[in-house]
Amino acid sequence: MQGLPGKAAITFLAPMESTRAMRADLFDPASLAALGRIEIVSRWIVDGFMSGLHRSPRKGFSVEFAEYRPYQPGDDLRYIDWKIAARSDRWVVRQYEEETNLRASIVLDVSRSMAWSGAQMSAGGPARTRETTAVTQLTKLEYAERLTAALALLLLRQRDAVGLVRFDERVRTAVPPRARNGQWRRIVASLEEPGAGRASSAADALHQSARLISRRGLIVLVSDLLMEIGEVETAMRGLRALGHDVTVLHIMDPAERELPGAGEAVFIDPESELSVPASIADVRAAYKKTVDEVIGEWRSMFGALGIGYEIVSTDAPFGVPLRQAFAARQMLP
């Protein structure tokens, strides 16, 4: 983090202690994304995330010593190498590498609906209000890509094999899970391939990811879930039947939850081209109620299948969904 460019321009989400404030995983995602490419940003996120794991209950894992690093305030005192401290008067902590045989696949929705942010509503909407999000807001896809890269890096650093499946109306990219060096770069490079199809066919992508994982593993679906719940349920049942653990990160723009603004407009679904004329002020309450109902339906369905489900808002720091996904990983052997 010491070399973080443009640090002074970053907007922090909340007043924090100095150490915590330097963690990129807690930065405003849009501001952070503006600072560099995916791989750089993702490294910052994971570095920040890892430095904050000192409170994680990692005891009981089989770990292997990897290296020393300088002690930082907040580090667990149990990991301080007291011998070195006694010899050289330097405070260092021991770092360990976990050994694992987990195979994980991240299934990323790159359909056209993901290439959208609430900033479009405030920029081109019928009325601009204080509720609208900032124009510099990330699209759902941009957010999901950075989250995917960070998650992949995090898993790879745990010696997990990580793969990637990108899909829209069809599977666009399929990177088999690997734990070797260069795997993360391949994943990052895959993120830049085209997508933005007019539909989301999650079922195919999920099946594809299951095929890529030869044995039980972890599948993380990153999507806005603007798709038929039945198809997803069927695919999820198949995955669970194969013994996979599944976590769903439901990417939502704040504008999709709140329907901000005022006035009237014809709202058009970029995928299905469904057009709905509506007065925002009139329908906002009903819309929010419907969104809550849909979320409830998804949560209920995933819950019934034993699938982790988290809603990820694109204005939330990357650390939040990362922690949720990582927690799911920690539950696995």
């Binding site: 081109g124 909407g125 806005d224 603007l226 999709e256 709202f267 709905v276 004329p277 419907t290 969104v291």
Partner: protein
């Protein structure tokens, strides 16, 4: 219902705006990409009935509110609906005659009238046109605040005023207002003597209030007169009183009481006096104050001076000499040369009572003497034969057998005191009185009649003594031509003002001295009419019958009169109700919009 500004009804077209918005809301031009449109569609489907009803209700509320605002802008009025009143031309006629100052129940009646007038003014709106008309015919227009000040300043005048003129003017101003609703609100004591003459008010409603309380018994001075008006220096004051019993009186002169006494009802009291004061003086005859104090004092004016010195020349005839002896014996004149009674042929100085020459051959000398004395009259043709003389008091039964025509010269300005046929027989001018016959028994019977000596005394002690001024009597506010012998008026408090061509008597009773070149030369005595002391009233219905009005409303009491003003004549304004309805509709719309999230969530 009608509208005062119907053009504003065109604003009603604005109702098309919410209507069109409602009908065209499915054809909105703005298009917005929104991936979660499916949720929006589902939300609309699930709440479509509620939304439709709500939108319809909102549209109707907005249309109704716009219509209410449009109607309010057009200023609707209706006869039986609404609050307040429509624009009204209202003239408030307040009877502030002397009789209205009578104290009833411990309070002057005029104070009650003023309170009622202010109550009415407080109900006025900016769209009304208002006037205050007093019983002397004065009209004042203005805003309620201005007229309220005028009402506060209102005082009872000293006389009866001119009710007919006041009502006519009130009707005229409301008629000229151009407003549809016209009303004359009259508050009066309904005094019978005051309302003998009433105007016709064809196109305005008259609202009448007459108190129902019986007027108190009144005592008043109905006559106060100096006899003669010029005392040399003796004279007398005549007085008469209105009362139901004997009453005590007091007579003052120049502020000094010189007589007190008790008089029987309607008895004429004559008090003789020879006061030491000199010049033009003001006097009063007073009673003890009663409920109507304004008529307990009556004013008079008198000129007091020494008895003039008069010399009668033989050319005036023997009867004149005898008459002068009588006047001397009564001390009305003394021997002297202030005034000469002389035949015209022997005229040498003025002032003089000049008679025609006894001998016709002296006619030429007489005319030359007149010319020398700058008297613009000449003796003309001699007329013989009996002819009747007509003139004022003193000339009844007077005939002439011989007379000369009195021929006026250029610029002659004189007062004709008596005529024979169409010819002047006695004329008077500055410092002279000219008789067209010699005052002998064979020329006229005038010197042998009983009225001759008083006439002669009057001419010598009043007309030919001192300044040419006299005493004028008038009621308050009366208008008259300016007398030639005066150019100014001195008020009671000593301030002097010039007089125009028309002399208007002040509204307050009193003695006002007439001046010429700064000197007092006469007096204007302002007293109310004695009839104003008669307090008997018409009832409201009797007075209503006498008013020839298009429509008359009778107020049973004072508060009813105040509340019936405006309301009876004008249709009421629907402006406030319309605005209130619009406000309520908009409030309901706001509540409906504000309540939406809770209801639909």
């Amino acid at each position: 219902m009608s509208f005062l500004a119907p053009l504003y009804l065109l604003l009603g077209g604005a109702v098309a705006v919410p209507l069109l918005l409602h009908l065209l809301r499915r054809r909105i031009g703005a298009r917005l990409e929104f991936p979660a449109a499916r949720y929006l569609l589902r939300a609309e489907k699930e709440n479509s009935r509620t939304l439709r009803i709500r939108n319809l209700l909102l549209m109707m509320l907005r249309i109704a509110a716009l219509l209410a605002i449009t109607v309010a802008a057009a200023r609707p009025v209706a006869r039986w609906l609404g609050a307040g009143h429509g624009p009204t031309a209202l003239a408030i006629v307040v009877d502030n005659s002397l009789s209205s100052s009578v104290v009833v129940n411990g309070r002057p009646l005029l104070d009650q009238f003023k309170g009622m007038a202010k109550d009415v003014l407080s109900n006025a709106t900016p769209s009304d046109r208002l006037w205050l008309v007093t019983i002397d015919g004065h009209v004042r227009g203005g805003t309620p605040a201005v007229l309220r000040d005028e009402v506060n300043r209102l005082e009872a005048i000293a006389g009866a005023g001119d009710p007919a003129t006041s009502l006519s003017r009130a009707a005229s101003v409301v008629r000229a207002s151009g407003l549809e609703a016209k009303q004359v609100a009259l508050v009066t004591d309904g005094q019978r003597t005051e309302w003998q003459r009433t105007p016709s008010i064809a196109d305005a409603q008259v609202l009448v209030y007459v108190p129902t309380t019986r007027p108190p018994a009144n005592r008043a001075v109905t006559l106060a007169e100096a006899r003669p008006t010029r005392w040399t220096p003796r004279g007398s004051v005549a007085a008469r009183f209105l009362s139901h019993d004997s009453t005590t009186y007091r007579i003052t002169l120049n502020g000094r009481t010189f007589a007190r006494g008790t008089a029987a009802p309607n008895e004429e009291v004559v008090v003789h006096a020879s006061p030491p004061e000199r010049g033009w003086l003001a006097g009063t005859v007073e009673l003890e104050p009663d409920e109507l104090a304004g008529d307990n004092v009556r004013n008079f004016a008198v000129w007091i001076g020494p008895a003039p010195g008069v010399s009668g020349l033989p050319s005036a005839g023997p009867f004149v000499k005898s008459a002068l002896d009588v006047l001397r014996s009564s001390e009305r004149i003394v021997d002297g040369h202030d005034i000469t009674v002389v035949g015209a042929d022997e005229l040498s100085s003025l002032p003089a009572l000049i008679t025609a020459p006894l001998d016709p051959v002296k006619l030429g000398a007489a005319n030359r003497a007149l010319e020398r004395a700058a008297i613009p009259w000449r003796f003309g043709t001699r007329r013989a034969g009996d002819a009747a003389v007509r003139g004022g008091a003193g000339f009844d039964g007077v005939n002439t057998a011989v007379r000369y025509d009195l021929v006026a010269q250029t610029g002659a300005v004189a007062e004709t005191l008596a005529v024979v046929g169409r010819d002047a027989w006695v004329v008077a001018g500055p410092r002279y009185v000219l008789v067209g016959s010699p005052l002998t028994a064979d020329a006229t019977n005038f010197p042998v009649r009983a009225s001759f000596v008083p006439w002669l005394g009057s001419v010598l002690t009043e007309r030919l003594v001192g300044e040419p001024g006299q005493v004028l009597e008038a009621e308050p506010g009366a208008r008259m031509p300016r007398p030639r012998w005066a150019d100014g008026l001195e008020t009671v408090d000593g301030q002097r003002s010039a007089i125009g061509d028309v002399l208007e008597a002040p509204s307050r009773a009193g003695t006002y001295f007439m001046t010429r070149n700064g000197r007092r030369v006469g007096a204007l005595v302002v007293n109310g009419s004695p009839a104003e002391s008669q307090l008997e009233q018409f009832t409201a219905s009797e007075l209503s019958d006498r008013l020839h009005a298009a429509r008359t409303l009778l107020a049973p009491d004072a508060s009813a009169w105040s509340s019936m003003a405006f309301r009876g004549a004008a249709r009421r304004s629907l402006l406030e109700p319309a605005l209130l309805i619009a406000l309520v509709l908009l409030a309901i719309e706001a509540i409906l919009i504000g309540a939406r999230p809770r209801r639909m969530a």
